[in-house]
Amino acid sequence: MTPKKKWYDYLWIVSLTYLILGFFNILFAWLGLLCFFIPLLIAIAKGNKAYCNKYCGRGQLFSLVGGRFRLSRKKDVPKWMKSKYFRYGFLVFFFAMFFLMLWNTWLVFSGAKNLRTAVTLLWTFKLPWHWAYHGTLFSAGVAQFAFGFYSVMLTSTILGFLTMALFKPRSWCVYCPMGTMTQLICKARNAATQQKK
């Protein structure tokens, strides 16, 4: 017997749609901010990881492809990958890169730099992505942010699929920066409420 499916067990469709939309119009990348703010708000307001535990469509996608479609070796992740050093280190690195992306957005927004219609994979490889750019109503910075944010999303998806294939389907969850961050928030929140008692 497997547990009964709930509506939120289908959110992988949303995650997949998001990735596909980015190939057609890069401005859809803005929607990805939801995957940033919803987990944070839940962790801050409710003090739990309901987002990871129930709603995360990306995690569902990995368990579907790695589990149901068997595209995973289902081996244990190496020890260093689940160590606190690596998890916290990756979180710091991820956010450093994120702020660099925001800085680039600002430069384009202020006119100091021209818009680059490229998606950067693994923080290194610049792929031409002009076909998904059809102009923007506001500033070029709006489009630059979309390219930058989509780069972040695509990069993390690729890393996730890589570790899915090599290790267990949802290995990404072990070092997912959002997961690490929401767990830290929950820890801090819990420590604070314990102190009050």
Partner: protein
């Protein structure tokens, strides 16, 4: 008879909830977003959670009764 029960290594748990999703008995909860708890009375020792856990930190303990 020896029974098997799941046990989580709390320090290493990332609170992802993969174990929770596969447990046929709803014996797992992650109430504070910090680590998973196994409700031992509900656990039937099927081992599904241990297999699913991406961090591989659930062990099946043998309990002699």
């Amino acid at each position: 008879m020896a029974k098997r029960k799941a046990a989580v290594s709390i320090q290493e748990c990332v609170a992802c909830g993969c174990c929770m999703k596969v447990c046929p008995k709803n014996a797992i909860s992650i109430p504070k977003g910090i680590h998973a708890n196994i409700h031992r009375e509900l656990c039937i020792g099927c081992g599904k959670c241990a297999k699913e856990c991406p961090a591989s930190i659930i062990s099946m303990e043998v309990i002699n009764e």
